[in-house]
């Protein structure tokens, strides 16, 4: 939306995002998504024109949180893939995704959005799609990293863009002092400044704390 806002257009803008594999939507299978905008008229108009019983739309006045959830989930998906690729198991993945979402909530609040948005269809919903199956490009990139393959070799073998790689860098650059151990570990892993083993040790040796 920052990019669009800089464009020479003059109309209300918003975000449509959520856990939607396009091929399922095309088949008419049921799905849900978020229409996020500070403009209530725009939200209502999109809900009325695009919403159907099979494509359920929910209004949300927090486009910052909705955008963050949709983008940053790719970073957590890389981490989840790395955990599974390294054979750490499903308990570890569940803990990592849960704690990763907590990081995204903190970041949303720091950037002026709301935690609840990230715990909705954008963010949590997205992660339920992308962190559980190799169908996700970000998850599969993480999986390959977890199995010991190098980033350059993984990227050379695929033509599609793996968004999380650039998102991780952008996200950490915007985060300031926000506590984001998992996102920072992914950025360091992708930058080659930390090995996977070191990243895992660092995450597990953090002090115990309240949830």
């Amino acid at each position: 939306m920052e990019v669009v806002r800089d464009a020479p257009i003059d109309c209300p803008i918003g975000v449509l995002t959520g856990p939607n594999f396009a091929h399922e939507v095309a088949k008419g299978l049921p799905a849900a998504a978020v229409v996020a905008s500070v403009d209530a008229d725009l939200r209502e108009m999109v809900l009325a024109r695009l919403g159907t019983p099979g494509f359920r739309l929910y209004g949300n006045d927090d486009p910052i949180g909705a955008q963050l959830g949709g983008a940053a989930k790719n970073v957590i998906a890389i981490a989840a893939g790395a955990v599974m690729g390294a054979g750490l198991g499903e308990n570890a993945r569940a803990a990592l995704v849960t704690r990763g979402l907590r990081e995204l909530c903190r970041l949303a609040v720091a950037l002026g959005g709301r935690a609840e948005t990230v715990m909705g269809l954008s963010g949590l919903g997205d992660l339920l799609l992308t962190c559980t199956g190799p169908a996700s490009r970000n998850f599969s990139l993480g999986y390959a990293l977890g199995q010991g393959e190098g980033l350059a070799s993984i990227l050379a073998s695929r033509s599609a863009v793996t968004e999380g790689v650039s998102t991780a860098v952008a996200l950490v650059a915007r985060a300031g002092e926000v506590e984001l151990p998992i996102c920072r570990a992914v950025a360091a892993l992708l930058a080659g400044s930390k090995t996977l083993d070191q990243a895992i040790i660092d995450l597990l040796s953090r002090p115990q704390r309240d949830e």
Copy 2:
């Protein structure tokens, strides 16, 4: 904890819960869990004695939310299984689990707990384990329902307890006026008062709303 509190014992009590497949913990793979108690000394003691780098414990002073998350997630897992068994796809499952967690948050608040707890390791973390694979008894029961098998026949074929079946009834009984469309649909499905097709139509034809 209500049951324990009625027993003739006199000591602080708490809850240890989280997304932990026992066989992975036994192998020494990393996992995380919540120690929930209103007694800060008890929390600290359990964290100090049971926590290790590979078994990360997080303190939480909301045992109501922690108990609800650990129990009620089984009801959402049945719903997620039914969606997959009926062939509705991964978009539908992601939407259902996200909206199902929102229901559990509302219920936690109504019962005196906190939404954030249910969005943590107990609740969300649990759901990440149980809603994605047939390894979960609740998910697989829902899956069989989704494929058209009857509840009596499913229960007759298994010796292990499928907790969500009784939890669904108990949860709705405690819910009062709280808006729980997915949990109530599962209870009605299990009670035979609604068919799967009717439950799906009812959920999809609810009015559009804010997230």
